[in-house]
Amino acid sequence: MSASGVATSSGIAVWWGAIRRDRKALAGSVILAIFLVIAIAGPWFVGDPTAPVGIPLQPPSADHWLGTTGQGQDVLAQLVVGTRVSLAIGFAVGFAVVLIGALVGVTAGYFGGRIDGFLSLLFNVFLVLPGLPLAIVIAAYLPSGPLTLGLVLTVTGWAWNARVLRSQTLSQRRRDFVAAAIVSGESSPRIIVREILPTMTSLMVAQMIGSTVYAIGAQVGLEFLGLGDVSGVTWGTNLYWAQNDSALLTGAWWTFAPTGLCVALVGFGLTMLNSGFDEITNPRLVLERAWRAHLIRRGRGATRSTPVVMDRG
């Protein structure tokens, strides 16, 4: 195994150790793990989600745990099968968006000058254009389906990450280790990939989690509008059909409530994981916790003071 391989595996061990110690991060990962299991294995345990199996709009019963839809389909089956596509799009977009953001942001921050000027202008324009209307206009012209949704959400979602990573790169660029790498004759791509990017790993992980939350929410919204593949089964199309069949005005809460809860739970789990990461990696928060623990050990009440970040080197 190469040296970098060892570094990665011990990196994962460090992350996992930190997650286990933090209550928020642990709760988030448990929620996420449950949904991942449902997404991967769930579809094998439920019937065909599109087949009519009973009388339309029946409330939850022993036969159909979450009732039936306006077309007499099983709500639970739709929910479980929908999890797979919805999460897949969410994670794929989360990954793509950070990848493009890193490519653009780091290039802009590293090279500076005209390249920076142009790229900064580009992502600032994309940031200020309203995302959902732009996504709708693009999606309407493409054949509907998961691929279109993924593409559209990537186009409208990458700019924020590029902006954050650019400013991070700018501050790294001025550090001594980059200067040392330049002096020792390393090529620019190598410096970017081997020297600068590794210092931003935790930031990029956080961005990926945040972008996934965005992607799942936006995707459900677009599908709710009818821009997804309305004959497919995803969380968004479930809500689309619930609205179309006027589920609300007939009191059929079970056709829309479970789906929204799942979207929220996944989003909440990811957000918890993210704020857990923040508390692990943010030196100010780490120090504050240590300080409070110290005060309590000395038998004094926790004060309101916030210690400044000290150099712990």
Partner: protein
């Protein structure tokens, strides 16, 4: 002054990008769907509408550059083409009917959410580890992870359908005459209450957290300590010293949030059958009314750009550093 001009230039550039995207999209679209669309509409649409569609898709004999300049001229003169779904109304007229409602909904939601959220954030930071700080952020973040329109569905179901406290949709009741009267205004407020409340609930957490975190950082700074040491009243320290500076990142976020809230507003309108841009947009998507869809995109984009410019002006007023460097 240069600051204002620079920002203005940036927004003009963004508007131009939006216009160009609008022009290029139908032309980049693969050939077959366009033909299929025309086949679908043939015989159903009047020749004028077909001509308008053809111009949208660039199926004219004119060279691309001429088409581009023509389309820019049309937009600049307020001509957004003819709607397919609402034929023979021009797109600008159709959009005009819904614009007031969307601005009302999204505008009041942003204003209320920003004010309450920022104040709560200040409270949470000032009384660290009090109950506001402990419970509210988690609860609001949890609420914020629901899709806007799903919260709207639940609110409509519980407060509209089950309890009957609020009307089930539309901007005002059929039997009320639209006029500037007390009866009409109360009716509009009653109809807007639920949609606005759901949007406020969904966005409150973000404002609270952003204000809380920056206030905590500001409260640890020297100038706040000095203000405290001078013996100024806590209210003065909190509002005049800490809050004013802590507000800056939130104000920056305001511009970006506007676009986001407008998007959420579009979806919320659909749930409440509210006659704004969102409702029109769904009609446009269902009827493949491309001119209307693009018109809505343009109008919303221009509105967001204008709002962002106003935010920049507010920033100038709040942050003396920019004012100094700008003059």
């Amino acid at each position: 002054m240069t600051y204002i001009l620079r920002r203005l230039g940036f927004y003009l550039l963004s508007a131009w990008v939006a216009l160009t995207i609008n022009f290029l999209l139908p032309r980049l679209m693969p050939g077959d769907p366009a033909t299929a669309l025309f086949a679908r509409f043939r015989g159903q649409l009047a020749p004028e509408a077909m001509q308008a569609l053809r111009e949208t898709f660039g199926l004219t004999q004119a060279p691309l550059l001429t088409q581009y300049l023509t389309s820019l001229r049309h937009v600049l003169t307020g001509d957004l083409g003819i709607s397919v779904a609402y034929f023979p109304s021009p797109v600008s007229t159709v959009i005009g009917t819904g614009l007031v409602w969307t601005v009302l909904l999204a505008g009041s939601a942003v204003a209320i959410s920003f004010t309450i959220g920022t104040l709560l954030g200040l409270v949470a930071a000032w009384w660290r580890r009090g109950w506001v700080d402990t419970w509210l952020p988690s609860a609001l973040v949890f609420l914020g992870s629901f899709p806007y329109f799903w919260l709207a569905m639940v609110a409509l179901f519980v407060f509209g359908f089950t309890l009957g406290w609020f009307p089930l949709g539309h901007a005002y009741a059929d039997d009320v005459v639209p006029a500037f009267s007390t009866a009409f205004v109360t009716d509009v407020v009653r109809h807007a209450a639920l949609p606005v409340a759901t949007m406020v609930l969904a966005t409150l957490g973000g404002w609270l957290l952003s204000m809380r975190n920056t206030t905590i950082a500001v409260l640890g700074s020297d100038y706040v300590n000095l203000a405290r040491a001078k013996g100024l009243s806590p209210a003065r320290v909190a509002l005049r010293y800490a809050a004013r500076n802590a507000l800056l990142p939130s104000v920056t976020g305001l511009g970006m949030a506007l676009g986001f809230v407008l998007g959420g507003s579009l979806l919320t309108e659909i749930v409440f059958s509210y006659p704004g841009q969102g409702y029109l947009l769904v009609q446009a998507v269902r009827n493949q009314d491309y001119p209307l869809m693009q018109g809505i995109f343009l109008v919303i984009t221009l509105a967001v750009l204008a709002a962002n410019f106003l935010v920049d002006l507010a920033y100038l007023w709040l942050d003396p550093r920019i004012r100094e460097s700008a003059t």
